[in-house]
């Protein structure tokens, strides 16, 4: 008879698979394809400006989300990403501790931030505008981001067509109650999210 531990270990690998299946779009009659947004194939980076003289860059290392991409009808595309605020990383340890503190992300009270897009508008030329709810420190505000699919190419290693899904935008940190050090750290935070995806055809699959 299997012990609880053995049973658990046996079924453990199934859990992410189940998650991937659940992430599939409800309707698969259209050309929408679902992708997992997670570390390894996606980077979520940001930068802030200091006195207009130099910038500090950082990124998040723990997040999970889904991207539903409809190339034929971009307005049907959706994004939903949750990011662990405690996974923020910058060059200096001192700054890293500061970003996790109450003054910034307050990771203790708000371990997660989330962007859930509900409106995608095509700007033409392969570019889209994504509108959605951004929640940081428990404050939810409307946020607009720009996105485009670039570097579409055939990748023999991936065995198919690949591309970079690049999302950029400016987030006003003060709007989320992040008001510390305004004399030195800019209000605007430049976001840059790059997702490497293998484009799939009409057959829907999760990456």
């Amino acid at each position: 008879m299997m012990t609880f531990r053995e049973t658990w270990q046996k079924f453990l690998p199934i859990i992410p698979l189940a998650g991937a299946i659940l992430a599939l779009p409800a309707s698969d009659a259209d050309a929408a394809d679902a992708y997992r947004i997670r570390p390894g194939s996606t980077t979520i980076a940001f930068s802030v400006d200091h006195l207009g003289l130099f910038q500090t860059e950082g990124d998040f290392t723990a997040f999970d989300g889904s991207l539903i991409l409809d190339l034929d009808d971009p307005s049907r595309s959706r994004v939903d990403v949750r990011v662990e605020t405690g996974s923020v990383e910058v060059e200096s340890d001192e700054a890293m501790a500061m970003l996790r503190s109450d003054d910034y992300f307050d990771s203790g009270d708000f371990p997660e931030m989330r962007f859930k897009a509900d409106h995608v508008t095509s700007l033409g030329d392969g570019k889209v505008e994504i509108d959605g709810d951004l929640t940081i420190r428990g404050v939810t505000r409307r946020q607009t981001l720009q996105a485009e699919l670039t570097d579409r190419r055939f990748d023999p290693a991936a065995g198919g067509e690949v591309a970079n899904f690049i999302v950029t935008g400016k987030v006003d940190r003060v709007g989320f109650g992040m008001v510390a050090d305004r004399g030195f750290v800019s209000d605007d935070v430049d976001l840059r999210i790059i997702s490497y995806i293998r484009l799939v055809g009409d057959d829907v699959a999760a990456r």
Binding site: F54, T56, A95, D181
Partner: protein
């Protein structure tokens, strides 16, 4: 200038960590003073090489003259090395804070962030800073010492 740079360094590394703006400008002041030291030292060495420097002190025995020469060489070496090392410390620091000479002119990045180099250079910069301050104080003390004994050293230094 050396003492000013040293004093600013003591303050800037001790200032409330969260007072970024103050810290930023203290570091800039420190770096500007350091660069001025470098320029002044190069100018002085240039004058010396052109034979316009002070001649040997009259009335000092050769052995002591040689000792003084050694001390002065060490001072010049440190005066040149310190600003260069300081520049490299700023250059290799993980935070890409620019160096603004006189708060206006941005110096180009030479090497870029390098954690190992940064650690080594910072330590060296700090050790040599203390060495330079001790030597400079000794240099001043010797000048006063000779002055008291009737040698015309202090007056021509001022």
């Amino acid at each position: 200038m050396v003492l000013a740079a040293f004093a600013v360094a003591l303050i800037m590394t001790d200032v409330e960590a969260r007072d970024f703006l103050l810290r930023f400008w203290l570091y800039q002041a420190h770096k500007t003073i350091g660069l001025l030291v470098l320029l002044a030292c190069l100018a002085r060495l240039g004058l010396r090489l052109l034979g316009r420097g002070p001649g040997p002190v009259k009335g000092l025995p050769t052995s002591k003259r040689r000792l003084a020469g050694l001390g002065h060489a060490a001072l010049y070496g440190l005066l040149l090395a310190m600003p260069v090392l300081g520049l490299l410390v700023a250059d290799t620091a993980p935070q890409k804070v620019p160096t603004l000479f006189l708060g206006l002119w941005r110096l180009p990045v030479l090497i870029g962030p390098d954690a190992a180099l940064f650690e080594g250079l910072s330590t060296l910069h700090m050790v040599l800073a203390w060495t330079l301050v001790v030597l400079a104080l000794g240099h001043g003390a010797m000048a006063i010492h000779h002055h008291r004994r009737g040698l015309d050293v202090l007056r021509r230094m001022l």
